[in-house]
Structure formats: C-alpha cells, structure tokens
C-alpha cells in the first residue's frame, strides 16, 4: 500500500501527461502481481466493492469523530475520502479529542465496535489473509494492495465498517487516502483508462491497440496481461470471449465546409453510445468507457442473438414521439439501474439505432473502409428483431449547404446534431484527425438570474462554483429553472465566487442565497418538461455561456419563453 499511496500522491501533483505515464509505467514494472493489477484497476475506476460506499465511511467515522466536526471538515476539504483519511484518529494523538460526546459519557459501544471480534473472523475468510498470524502481528505487518482488495471484497454490508476500520488502523494518512480512494472510487488523479493503457504499453514495449483490446477481456488483476507484457506468455486468446473493442470517436467539426463526396452524413442521436457483442455464448452491452451495462437493459441482451459486434446509440421510445426516439431525459430513467421493473420496461422501451458493424460471423470488419462496413451493416440489420434494432439512416444531402440547412431544421427531440464519417476510413480506436466529425446543433440560450450558489467539490472546494438560476414566472416571481457548474473560465470563476460572497443574503448549510442581481446567459442542449422543479422545466447540459453584468434582472427571460423551446 505504501508504494501505491506514493504513486497516487505523485499523480495528484503531477500535471504533465508524460510524467504521469512515466510514473505509472515505473510502478507497473517494479511492483509484483497481483498488487500492480489491482492498483491499475483502482486508478481506472474499474473496481467496485458493493459493501463499501461513501455512506459506510461516513457511518464509520461517526463512531470515532464528532459528526459536526466531520461535517465541517468535509465541507472544507470537499472530498469524503480525504476528510476521513485526515480525521482518522491515530494512537497516541494529542489533546484534540474529536469524539462525539455520547461516547465519552459511557454509552454502550456502537455496532461497529461491538463487531470487533467478528472482524478478524471475516478477515480470515479472505484467502490471502489466512496466514495464521496473530492479530498484533497482522496489524503491524505492512498492508499490501491485494490484501486490502481481498478484505474489501470479502466484506458484507454488516461487517464492512469493522473491516475498513481494521485496515485504516494499519496505515498512515497517505495510506488511508489511497485505501479509501481504492474502496470508493473517484480517484481524480487525472488518469483515464486510455492513459493507463498507454502506460502499460510504455512499461512493457507493447502496442497500445493490443492493450486496449485485451484490457477489457481480462478481469483485474490482469495477470495474463502482465505475463504477456513481460514476454512470459503468448498473447491471450480472445476467440471465445465477448470482449470490448475500443470505440472510434469523433472530433468536433471546425472546418468551414466538407465535401460530401468524401464524407457520409448521419444524424447524431442523443442517447448513449453502446457496443453490443455476442461471443462465447453470451451477449454484452458496453458503454463508451468499456463498462458492461447489459444488466440495465435485459430486453436488448435477450434480443441480440446474432454472432456479431455492433456500434450504435441506445435510445428509448417515447409516447409523445409516436413511438420514435425520445429525449435523453426519458432515457435517464433507465440508466444505472440494477433491477429493471416490468413497468420500466413498458414505460421506457429501449432500442438501438445501429451505426456500424465491427464483426460478423467470426470476421473482424474493422480494417475495412466505412463504405464496405456500411454495405454489410445494411445486409445484417434485418437479421435482428426490428422491435429493438434499427438502422441509422444516411442523410441524403445534396451538398454541405443543404446538410447545414437540414441540421438547422432538425426538430426531433433526440437529434443532437450531425455525424460526418470519412467513407474510406477503417474503424480505428480513439479520436483520429480527419476521419469522423461531430457537428452538434447550436445550443439554445436563455438569460437567467442567479439565485443560489454552492461550493464545488475537489479542487473547487473553496469556490462557490455551482449556481442555481431562475426565470420570471407569469406572477413576476423568480423560479429556479436549472443549475450549472461549468462554462466559465478560471478568471470568471474567481469573479463569480467573489460576487457570491459579497452578495449573500442567507446561508443554508453549504448553500448561499444571493441577491437577485446578476444575469447569467445559460446555454443548454435542450429543455424538457419536468415535475422535479417548481418551474416545470429541466434543461439538458446547462452551462454558463456569459456573465451579463450589463443586463438588468428585469430583462431576464420568462418561463413562458422557455416553455416554448420544449421538445
């Protein structure tokens, strides 16, 4: 854990991409299995310990630290894991007692402490800890990453706090931070999955595209991957696995014009990009980051019965759209669910609009030009149930101007813009210059009045960076219509933060109500009816586009105007 904690510490403070790559590569080369595998999985957020959540940590801390002091500290630090790592009481600490008063008055021991004898029993269950050492020896020996992972995986909801406590007791503040980040995720050290794979490739001198493909087919701690990287084993065979192929991505279109003889145009649908893979007797649905999300969409998993790999957009049908694709807002009802009720399946039926065919009947098509893949895709889609799969249509535009006109005229709720794909391009991983472009619809904007502000998280913990804004109702009242925390520059953020501090009317915990004196121009992709807000509206991806210090608040927009933009 010491080496891993040191790595995280270095990564937190390292800004350059090359330095990050060098740090990770060095760690991977010099750390044994399975620690390095677990570490890299933690860095790329691919570990999950269902029994250990932020709530577990908060509940555990509440048994050791006064809740009010924890709350104040959490506000200041802006991150639960870091707060807990710093607050965790160490033996022989000074005078700063921070326990809740009840405990000092001799209240019965809390559940967590009462569970202590059971802790060791449960740790014994973890295979790597079954060494027969005594409690005191075990506590003093350095904790390895894999011991921590084993202990956390073995935890049940009831003994998780006690297990976590016994691990925290064996670490210093940096170690505790590393452990809690590993347990809870949200590492925020600026390491994407892509960067980690590149570091792996750099560490062992292997092609990054191979790493990309193998990565998702081999579960952490990736022992066969390291064996291959170090030349101790052959490249793992993926023939019988429903493995993930890295997505091909698009650059925003910045060119003035593009020749449609070279590029095909399709609508860009506002759902979630998915890859559906059937192989080795199973079907998997991968999200853009390679996360398996099939559990949330059982009807699609059941309906995809062909030996193939497709790339498409997952959408839901809306009644208001006459059974056609509904807005992202509707799709959100289906995301992130572990159990899907019959009602959910009936109210928000999912389907996939298919963009591309990456493999079919055992043949990998990715090296073929788009035109050839498209020809095979058109032949393939009829093999799928049309209730759940349809073909993304090519926009039959005469020329670029015609396309621009159609893009401007598109009013469909689920259209986000246009995609342009180079006709002779193979399907390659990542964002490559000149092959695919996305050309989003221009955002809508509204002039709104800042109403409340809240401090941000992480590096923005000291800034009021999340703003709730409103528009005028018919009764002349300001009603909140959305909340935004992006779109401004660092300089503007400083200005906004100062504005909030200088114009505070009321404090409600972390939230400040401000004088209704500042107009913000808010840009958003679309706006929908919503029961969640008093205004009856919800914006999709709102961000601050301009600070309108010049504009009097009376001239901000009316809710009626916004209602006219609803799709």
């Amino acid at each position: 854990m010491r080496r891993f904690a040191a790595l995280i510490d270095r990564l937190v403070y390292t800004r350059s991409r090359n330095s990050k790559l060098a740090l990770i590569a060095d760690y991977l080369r010099h750390t044994p299995d399975p620690d390095r595998g677990w570490a890299i999985a933690a860095l790329t957020e691919s570990l999950d310990f269902p029994a250990v959540k932020a709530g577990t940590v908060r509940a555990l801390l509440a048994t050791r630290v006064d809740e009010e002091l924890f709350r104040l500290s959490r506000h200041f630090v802006g991150d639960t894991a870091e707060t807990a790592a710093l607050l965790w009481p160490e033996p022989n600490r000074g005078t700063g007692t921070i326990r809740a008063p009840e405990r000092r008055r001799g209240a019965p021991p809390s559940k967590v402490e009462a569970a202590t004898p059971a802790v060791l029993a449960s740790l014994e269950r973890a295979p790597r800890l079954r060494s027969g050492t005594r409690d005191s020896e075990w506590r003093q020996s350095p904790l390895s990453v894999s011991q921590a992972v084993d202990a956390l995986s073995a935890a049940s909801r009831s003994d998780a706090p006690a297990i976590l406590a016994s691990l925290l007791d064996r670490l210093d503040a940096d170690g505790r931070y590393a452990l809690l980040k590993l347990a809870l995720g949200g590492m925020s050290v600026g390491v994407s999955a892509r960067l980690a794979k590149q570091a792996f490739a750099q560490a062992f001198g292997v092609p990054v595209d191979d790493v990309e493909e193998l990565w998702h087919a081999i579960p952490p701690p990736f022992a066969p991957l390291f064996a291959w990287g170090e030349g101790r084993a052959e490249r793992p065979d993926l023939a019988d696995v429903a493995f993930f192929r890295p997505f091909m991505l698009a650059h925003p279109l910045e060119e003035e014009s593009i020749d449609l003889a070279d590029y095909a145009a399709e609508w860009k649908w506002d759902g979630i990009r998915v890859q559906i893979v059937h192989g080795g007797g199973e079907t998997r649905i991968y999200s853009r980051g390679g996360e398996e999300i099939g559990g949330a969409f059982p009807e699609l998993v059941a309906a995809f019965d062909q030996d193939a790999v497709i790339d498409g957009e997952l959408l839901v049908r809306g009644e208001a759209q006459g059974g056609e694709a509904a807005s992202f807002n509707a799709l959100q009802q289906r995301l992130g669910r572990k159990l899907v009720s019959k009602k959910m399946l009936a109210d928000y039926p999912a389907f996939v609009r298919v963009y591309d065919l990456l493999a079919v009947d055992g043949d990998d098509l990715r090296a073929l030009p788009w035109t050839e893949r498209r020809r095979q895709l058109e032949a393939f889609v009829p093999r799928l149930a049309d209730s759940h799969f349809d073909l993304s249509q090519i926009i039959d535009a005469r020329d670029f101007e015609d396309l621009a006109e159609r893009r401007a005229g598109a009013r469909d709720a689920a259209i986000e813009g246009v995609m342009l794909k180079r006709r002779d391009a193979p399907y390659v991983a990542g964002r490559r210059a000149g092959l695919w472009y996305k050309w989003k619809r221009d955002p809508l904007t509204a002039d709104c009045v800042m109403m409340y502000a809240q401090r941000g998280n992480g590096r923005r913990a000291s800034f009021y960076s999340d703003y709730t804004f409103g528009c005028w109702s018919d009764a002349g009242e300001l009603l909140p219509v959305g909340k935004a925390y992006s779109g401004f520059t660092d300089e503007e953020l400083k200005w906004l933060d100062k504005y909030v501090r200088d114009h505070t009317l009321n404090r409600f915990g972390p939230v400040r109500e401000v004088e209704k004196s500042l107009v913000l121009e808010v840009a958003f992709d679309s706006i929908h009816a919503s029961k969640r807000h008093k205004s009856g509206l919800a914006m999709r991806f709102p961000r601050i586009s301009r600070i309108r210090r010049d504009k009097p608040t009376e001239e901000a927009d009316h809710i009626a105007t916004l209602r006219g933009m609803v799709t």
């Binding site: 005078t95 700063g96 590096r459």
Partner: protein, 337 residues
C-alpha cells in the same frame, strides 16, 4: 454566546478596549493601536499611535512606512508594557513570526489575552509561545478543524532537500510568505545542514535583511535577479506565493513548484495552487496545538477571532468550555498560513 464585556468590545474591524481607548489589530486607521505582529491583516498604516514590540515596529517601519522612532509610537520588549485608562497592557511571545506577541490586558481584577496569530512548535527565527494564564482567552483559529495536523517540520524540510537532490538539473522554487515563512524555511534548511546559497525573489530581500539584523542567521543568500540560470540548477529558490506561477519563474531552470503552507495538508488546495511539491509548514497552530493551548491556558471563556471558528467552537462545546466566535473582518487567511 456570552454577553460582551463592558470594557472590551469585539467589532468586525478589531477589538476595542474602551477604558484605554485602544484598538487591538484594527483593520482601519484609529487613534491608538496595539499591534500583535507585522502581517498586513493585523498591522496597518495610518494609525495615530502604535504600541508593539520593537521587532514588530521595525517590520511596520519597513513595510508600511510607520515611523518607529516617532514619540507617539512605543516599543515594548516581551514581558513589558504600559498602562492607560486603568488598563495594564503587556506583550508576551506568540511564536508566530519575529516580534509576534500576545497582548495581555489587566483591568479591574480581570485578565484578557489576545493571541493574534500563534504556534506552539519550535521556530528558530522567533521566541517561543508562552502560556499566559487569563480569564478570557481570545484566540485565532486559522486551522480550527481536526483535518489540520501539521507533520513534524523536519520531515517536510527533508522532503524539500530530497526533491532538490533527486533532480540536480532543476531548481526547486518554494513559495513562502515574505514575512516569517521565508525566513523560517531558510533557518530550518540551515539547521538541517543545507549550506549552499539560497536564492531569493527580490520581494523577500529586505525582510531577510531585517531578520539578520535582529540576530537570525540565514547563511548566504543570493538574489535570483543577479544569478545566472545555470548556477540555480540543483538549488533552492524562494519567492512569495504570488510569483509561483508567474512569468517571473521562467528565469529559473525548469523549476519544481513547491509551497510551504499549512493549507498544503489538503490535496485539492495544493492542486488549486498548481503545486507539485506541497510542504506542510505553517506559522499557525494546528488543531492539536489550538486545543492543547486552550487546555494549557484554561481560561474561563474562549473567544475565537478568525479562521475555522465553527470547528474550534464545536470542540469547546464537546469539552464543555465556554466559548464564542467573534466575526472579525479583513483577515486574510489564504496567503500567509
């Protein structure tokens, strides 16, 4: 919340001692000011008369053009003081920076101490904090949250020296507040055996000279403006925090950005400042020091002036000590902690 005393009144702009008509650390010009130490958020220009330690007056003369020799100003070494309007004022070491003092006031059988800023750990550049028994203890609370526990200073200095040695082609640029922190970092480095010249941003020069005049040995110091780029490789450079990510630092050989501050304990704070090497070195008491000091002084009441007063207030509540927060304004917590 206790009722304000009749003879001492906390105001947003400072603490007013009514019978003596004296303000302590006022943030606006007044006729008579008693000043705890030379930092800008406690010491201002424009007062009629200033009462302070000789070192603080010298610092105010250097920074704000206060005339230390003028007859209306008065300097009092530690342990000494003056009487006015029946109030006996005296100055006692606070261990914060050179000349920093707690001010003890005695009136009608009651003793009140204003700490200004203070710390308890050893600092080779100033006199150590003294516990002054009192009825009302008016304390700072810059680091009044239990997340703030400064590690041993020696460990942080070792980290700094380790970083310089690890990259002999680069310099390590340490952001350190011009009054107190910079001189302390230098003195700690000397104490750890770092004998090489230390390079300074011009804004630090005068204060380092003032410390040297008061007997604090800082070893050989050179100005960055007078050095070549190449000679600073593998060396330590000090600059005020505002210069860290400024164009000024381009004259250094590929600097590693470090910063010496208690705020560096929180990772995201360090990231905000674009710091690569955070050094948790502070001139303010950390949580353990604040709470230990309240126990040591054991006052009847604790008043908390600035910082994370909510945290310290909560601790007083948990340990059943009478306390209240004074909401003073104009205290700049970010720069010099």
């Amino acid at each position: 919340m206790g009722k304000p005393r009749t003879w001492i009144e906390p105001h947003p702009s400072g603490i007013y001692v009514r019978p003596a008509d004296v303000w302590i650390d006022p943030s606006r010009p007044v006729a008579r000011a008693a000043v705890t130490h030379g930092h800008a958020d406690h010491a201002r220009s424009g007062h009629g008369a200033v009462y302070a330690t000789p070192e603080t007056l010298a610092i105010m003369a250097l920074r704000y053009g206060v005339d230390a020799e003028a007859s209306h100003n008065a300097a009092f070494p530690y342990g000494e003081g003056f009487e006015r309007g029946g109030v006996r004022f005296s100055f006692h070491p606070a261990g914060h920076v050179l000349g920093s003092a707690q001010i003890l006031m005695e009136y009608a059988g009651e003793r009140i101490v204003v700490t200004g800023d203070y710390k308890r750990r050893r600092d080779p550049t100033c006199a150590p904090f003294e516990v002054v028994p009192c009825d009302i203890f008016i304390t700072e609370a810059t680091f009044g949250l239990p997340v703030f526990r400064h590690p041993p200073t020696g460990d942080e200095i070792a980290k700094l020296i380790g970083a310089v040695r690890a990259e002999p082609d680069r310099s390590v640029l340490v952001g350190a507040y011009a009054l107190g922190k910079a001189q302390r970092v230098i003195a700690e480095l000397r104490g750890a055996g770092w004998e090489a010249p230390i390079y300074l941003h011009g804004a630090l020069e005068k204060m380092c000279n003032l410390y040297a005049l008061h007997g604090v040995d800082l070893g050989e110091l050179r100005l960055v403006s007078e050095a070549d780029k190449a000679e600073m490789a593998g060396q330590i450079v000090l600059a005020p925090p505002s210069a860290l990510n400024d164009r000024w630092s381009r004259r250094l050989p590929d600097p590693v950005t470090a910063m010496a501050s208690g705020w560096m304990r929180v990772r995201q704070r360090a990231r905000q400042r674009m710091v690569e090497l955070p050094l948790v070195i502070s001139d303010h008491a950390d949580w353990d020091e604040l709470t230990a000091t309240i126990i040591d002084v054991n006052p009847r009441e604790t008043w908390i002036t600035h910082g994370s007063e909510d945290g310290l207030l909560r601790w007083c509540e948990l340990t059943q000590r009478k306390a209240r927060a004074l909401h003073l304004v104009g205290r700049d917590l970010e720069e010099e902690a």
